[in-house]
Every structure is written in structure tokens, then in C-alpha cells.
């Protein structure tokens, strides 16, 4: 059994097969990192299918669940091994808003695509964004929002970053955001789907 088969099973959401293959590959001495990489390749394909309209939210949720199951098996073997990544992204749902479904999907796909993601959670005060960017030096910050009444929080958070002299690219994501909202709050990109987010990340990191 090969890593290609694992990537394919991941992309096809064959849960039992993924788990069996992970165990098998581990047993036959394949490096855990290589297995993670194969899973990530499958996850990238999941993202591609979502973008093409072949997969839906339900498939993304299921993919995340399968990935989690696989990582539970792999993590004890990963201790000490440093994973390579394409770059760091800070992400969170802005102050006043507790919706996390969209954010979690993007986080999952970004991780799958090989980024290191610092997830600040929901209802995140602007100070926490500032602090996280200072700490990580992340070149890209994602701000998630669902409520139209939290538009002010987007704007304030971006202003707070700029006031500290921090200039990461900022992408806002949410069901209702568009070019107008992007301009209004001073963001660099906007995303209404997870794939838009991935595209922006690829642009920022040249990946």
C-alpha cells in the first residue's frame, strides 16, 4: 500500500480506509511526516473539489473529522519532529461575533495546504490580534465575521494593527463581505468561501 493510496482515500473521504492505511504505513516504517504529507495532499484535493463545486460543506466537515482521526494516531509518533510549513497565518473571529464554522473550515484547509495557523478562536479583541501578530510575525491575518453589526470590529482591529506599525496583509472572510466591505474596513483581501482564502494565502506566500 502506498502513500498515493492514502492521499486518494483522504480525497475520497474513505474514513475506514484512511485509518487502516495510516496504521499500515506506520507499521511498515514510513516516516510519520511523510504520512502527514500524504494526508495533506488528499486534503488539498478536497479543497480543489470544493472549489470546483463537486464537494460541499458536508464533505469539508467530514474531511476534517477524518484528518483528526488520522492525526490522533500519528501525533504520538511526531513528537520532536519539526514539521515544515509554508508560513504563519493568524486567524480569528472578531470581537462581538461568536460564529466559528467558516473559520474552522478555512483553518482546516490552510493547515492541509501546509501553513502554520494560529487560531485565536471567536470573539477575539483587537489587542489579541495585535499581540499574536507581534509574537509570530505572521505576514497574513484572517478575520472572520458573520454579523453585519460587527463590521465596526473589523475596522477597529485592522486600525489597531496599523497603529502599532504592523503591516501584515489582512483578509476578511464571511458570508456577506465584498469589495465594498473590504474597502470600508481597510482590508487587503476578502473571501466568501474557504477557497478564496486559500487563493489569497497562495498569493501572499507565493506558494
Amino acid at each position: 500500500m502506498s502513500k498515493e493510496a492514502l492521499s486518494k482515500a483522504m480525497a475520497e473521504l474513505e474514513e475506514e480506509q484512511v485509518i487502516a492505511l495510516v496504521k499500515e504505513l506506520l507499521g511498515s516504517g514510513v516516516a510519520p511526516l511523510e504520512i502527514v504529507k500524504a494526508l495533506q495532499e488528499g486534503m488539498v484535493e478536497v479543497g480543489n473539489r470544493f472549489e470546483r463545486g463537486d464537494y460541499f460543506l458536508s464533505e469539508l466537515v467530514m474531511a476534517g473529522e477524518i484528518m483528526k482521526g488520522a492525526m490522533d494516531i500519528l501525533e504520538p509518533h511526531l513528537a520532536g519532529e519539526s514539521t515544515e510549513h509554508k508560513g504563519t497565518i493568524v486567524i480569528g473571529t472578531v470581537r462581538g461575533d461568536i460564529h466559528d464554522l467558516g473559520k474552522n473550515i478555512v483553518v482546516m484547509l490552510l493547515k492541509g495546504a501546509g501553513y502554520k495557523v494560529v487560531d485565536l478562536g471567536v470573539d477575539v479583541p483587537k489587542e489579541k490580534f495585535v499581540e499574536a501578530v507581534k509574537e509570530t510575525g505572521a505576514p497574513l491575518v484572517g478575520m472572520s465575521v458573520l454579523l453585519t453589526s460587527c463590521q465596526g470590529a473589523l475596522k477597529e482591529t485592522i486600525e489597531a494593527l496599523r497603529a502599532e506599525g504592523l503591516n501584515p496583509k489582512v483578509i476578511i472572510g464571511g458570508n456577506y463581505v465584498n469589495e465594498t466591505v473590504k474597502k470600508h474596513v481597510g482590508a487587503d483581501y476578502f473571501a466568501t468561501t474557504a477557497s478564496d482564502g486559500l487563493k489569497a494565502a497562495a498569493e501572499v506566500f507565493g506558494a
Partner: protein, 436 residues
């Protein structure tokens, strides 16, 4: 049969028999507005003009300068705000105060399902639902076996901190002809269970206090000529499980891991959803039943999943309500572009579909002969656009979808904090461009 019942329910609504009209002019205006909506809904006659009914959430509170917290805790001020919104803007039908729920009621019961200003969100921000797995994946059988018992002894103790002791209650179906039946009442003697009931009484008092104010606002506004947009409310069975019990994440996994159980649970909940819609609309004497749709939008489910898990039970609810002469008002947030063909199997002139990101030209093409369409002035435009931009959008929309009737001008989503001038532009547009 359904046809006659609908005529009768609509006539009852138009009569406004329980409404105390302020004067003849108000009575005439009320009837004119209801008839305008009736004509738009039934697709039999072209109304005198396109009706306009914005879906307001907390807009009346923001407009009156209240915080969301004020609106949820000071019922009288909220009532004044709702009156002011309707009288100032004169929509063809208004959405009542029920979208500003009573904060004290939540507090008394220690409500865990929501965060609200006063518990977890800032004073200016809307209350929000906290999705979680309030029902575990392995509890489907318990739900299917006895949904009411599941709600009373398992679900309610989880979402209301104050009702946790209800876990100790015995199933009520164990009270039957058997001599030792008092055993079922032993839990009512426990101090913690009695404390839970005290909280229930207190919450009941608060609900009555709030509802009486809501009712006085309704009586007032209807007496001055403005019908309410909705009589009853219910939900799609898939959303009942997805929003209320399992959460989005949970129900999405259930489609893969336990599809049979999910389908069975949807079956069991369907008649209960019909009952809820029928009883709420009947008690209001108003046939429109608000059904907010959540997890069936484009992108959430594949076409196959929609046709397997979402639509069959929703269609049964819709048909069950239509059978009783009611008019389901489907609030289809997000996009419904891939669902239009499925929807078109519904009977003509019996439903209203309010769309948000759906292509309205295609919706008119596919559903124009089937249902009254409503929507879809974007929330982003209403929030950030100018009054002129809104009027331009509305004019275009009316020309496109309003043709031949069967259209209600409205927002694509729930309106909270927008510039009042933009609300005015929305309402004026129907009056300026909507005449037939």
C-alpha cells in the same frame, strides 16, 4: 380543500376581527395592505402595487437609539421603538418584537444556548446562538423512541442550567393504571427539582410580562392599519436537528456515519414541526408561517444530500401547513440557486420564498408560476450603500421579478444596524416603482 381553507384563513386575517381599529382610515389601510399581500401570494391577481416588507431584526432598537441590551431588558422602551419604526416608515407588514427576546427570562433559566448582551456579548451586538452537540451522536434511538421525553429529561436540562434537576424526573408515560403510580412523583419531592420548578414559574411570569407588551404593540400597530408579516413559526426538520440538537458539525457527520438514524429522526420530528406551525398560526389568526432555512443552502449540502436529507421532510412540513390553509414563508438565507428546480414541485400560489444570494431572474423563471418571491436587497448594500444606490437596485429588482405580480420587495437578510435613510429608500422604492 386546501384551496378553500387558504381562502378562509386569508379572509380571516384580512378581516382583522380581533383588531380594534383606531378609525375607518386605519381599517381601510389594514385591509388594503393584507389584500396586497394576499394577491402577491396567491398568484391569481396582480396586486395594486408591489408590497414592501423589510425583514427587520433589531433595526427598530438601533433606530430608536437603544442598545440591544436595552431592547432585551427594558420591554417598554423596546415596545416604543417598534411602534416608532412602523409608524415612521410605514411598511406594508411589520415583523414584531419577538426578535428582541426577554433577557431576564434567559437569565432566570440560565440559558446556555445563546449568548446575549448581559451574558457574553457586548451591549450593542445581537444575541447569538451557541451551536454544540446538545444531543450526542449515540442518542438518536432515545430521541426516536420518545421525542417529548428526550426534550424534557435530556435536552432541556442541558440547555437551561436551572433545569438540570429535571434529569431526575421519571418519564410521564410511566403514570398509568398501576397501583404504585405515585412512584413517578417522587422526584417532584426533591428540593433541587422543586427549585427548578420555582425557576420555571418565575420564567413563566417573565414570559407573560413580556408577551403582554408584545401583544399590546401588535394590537396598537394593527389598530393603526399595519398587519404583522407572520402569524406562526416552525422549522425544517433537518434544521431542528442541525440547529437545536446536533450542531452543523454533528449533523454533517451523521449524514455519513448514521444516515438511517438521521432519516428516522427526521421522520419522527416532521409531524411535530407541522403541529408547531399550525398551532402558532391558528392562535394568531394569521396564516403566514415563518420558516427560517439554515443548513440546506447552496454549498452546505450536495444536490443528492439535499434531496435525501433536507427536502423530503421540509416538503412534508410545507404540504402539511398548506393542507391546513396556511402559507409557509420560507426565509432562504444564503444561496438557493441549485434548489430552485426541486422547489418547483410545490403547488401554485401556496408559499412565499424569500431569497438572499439567489439569482432572482432565474428564480422568477423557474418559480414564477409556483410561488410568490420575496427579497433580496443585499444587507451589504443596505448597510454601506447610499439611498440612491438602493433605489436603483430596487427599481431593477421590481422590473425583473415584480413583473405580473407574485413579488414582495424585501431585504435579503435580517436588518439590524443600518442608516434610517437606507430603510426609507427601500420602502419608498415599492411605492415609487412598484405600481402595476
Amino acid at each position: 380543500m386546501a384551496e378553500e381553507r387558504q381562502e378562509r384563513m386569508l379572509a380571516l386575517w384580512a378581516e382583522g376581527q380581533n383588531v380594534q381599529f383606531a378609525n375607518e382610515e386605519a381599517e381601510r389601510a389594514y385591509k388594503e395592505r393584507v389584500i396586497r399581500l394576499k394577491d402577491a401570494i396567491q398568484l391569481k391577481k396582480v396586486p395594486d402595487r408591489v408590497p414592501v416588507c423589510p425583514v427587520t431584526g433589531l433595526f427598530p432598537a438601533y433606530y430608536a437609539g437603544l442598545t440591544v441590551r436595552d431592547a432585551m431588558y427594558d420591554y417598554e422602551r423596546a415596545a416604543a421603538a417598534w411602534r416608532k419604526y412602523v409608524l415612521d416608515f410605514q411598511p406594508d407588514a411589520y415583523i414584531g418584537m419577538f426578535l428582541a427576546p426577554p433577557g431576564r427570562f434567559f437569565e432566570i433559566l440560565d440559558y446556555r444556548l445563546y449568548k446575549w448582551p448581559g451574558r457574553g456579548t457586548p451591549p450593542h451586538t445581537s444575541y447569538q446562538c451557541l451551536e454544540s452537540e446538545y444531543m450526542k451522536a449515540d442518542e438518536y434511538d432515545v430521541l426516536i423512541q420518545d421525542p417529548s421525553d428526550f426534550w424534557i429529561r435530556i435536552y432541556l436540562p442541558r440547555i437551561f442550567g436551572a433545569l438540570k434537576p429535571w434529569e431526575k424526573l421519571a418519564p410521564f408515560t410511566e403514570v398509568l393504571e398501576i397501583v404504585m403510580t405515585c412512584g413517578s412523583f417522587i422526584p417532584f419531592g426533591f428540593p433541587e427539582v422543586q427549585a427548578a420548578f420555582k425557576a420555571v414559574f418565575e420564567a413563566g411570569n417573565e414570559a407573560v410580562r413580556w408577551a403582554s407588551i408584545v401583544r399590546s404593540v401588535d394590537q396598537d400597530l394593527q389598530g393603526q392599519g399595519f398587519p404583522a408579516l407572520f402569524g406562526g413559526v416552525t422549522k425544517a426538520p433537518f434544521d431542528i436537528i442541525g440547529d437545536t440538537l446536533r450542531g452543523t458539525h454533528g449533523i454533517m457527520m451523521d449524514m455519513y456515519r448514521r444516515p438511517e438514524k438521521l432519516l428516522k429522526a427526521l421522520d419522527v420530528l416532521t409531524p411535530l414541526a407541522i403541529r408547531m406551525g399550525v398551532s402558532s398560526a391558528r392562535s394568531a389568526g394569521h396564516p403566514l408561517v415563518f420558516i427560517p432555512l439554515h443548513k440546506g443552502a447552496d454549498g452546505f449540502l450536495s444536490d443528492k444530500q439535499f434531496r435525501t436529507f433536507y427536502w423530503p421532510s421540509l416538503k412534508k412540513v410545507i404540504m402539511g401547513l398548506i393542507e391546513e390553509g396556511l402559507v409557509p414563508f420560507l426565509f432562504a438565507e444564503g444561496g438557493y440557486n441549485s434548489r430552485l428546480e426541486v422547489i418547483s414541485e410545490l403547488p401554485r400560489g401556496k408559499t412565499v420564498w424569500l431569497f438572499e444570494h439567489t439569482d432572482m431572474a432565474r428564480a422568477k423563471e423557474v418559480l414564477g408560476d409556483v410561488a410568490c418571491l420575496a427579497g433580496n436587497v443585499p444587507i451589504t448594500l443596505l448597510t454601506l450603500g447610499t439611498p440612491q444606490e438602493i433605489k436603483d437596485y430596487c427599481k431593477h429588482l421590481i422590473n425583473l421579478v415584480g413583473k405580473g405580480g407574485g413579488f414582495i420587495l424585501s431585504s435579503g437578510g435580517v436588518i439590524d444596524d443600518i442608516n434610517p435613510e437606507n430603510m426609507r429608500a427601500l420602502i419608498e422604492s415599492a411605492k415609487e416603482f412598484g405600481g402595476y
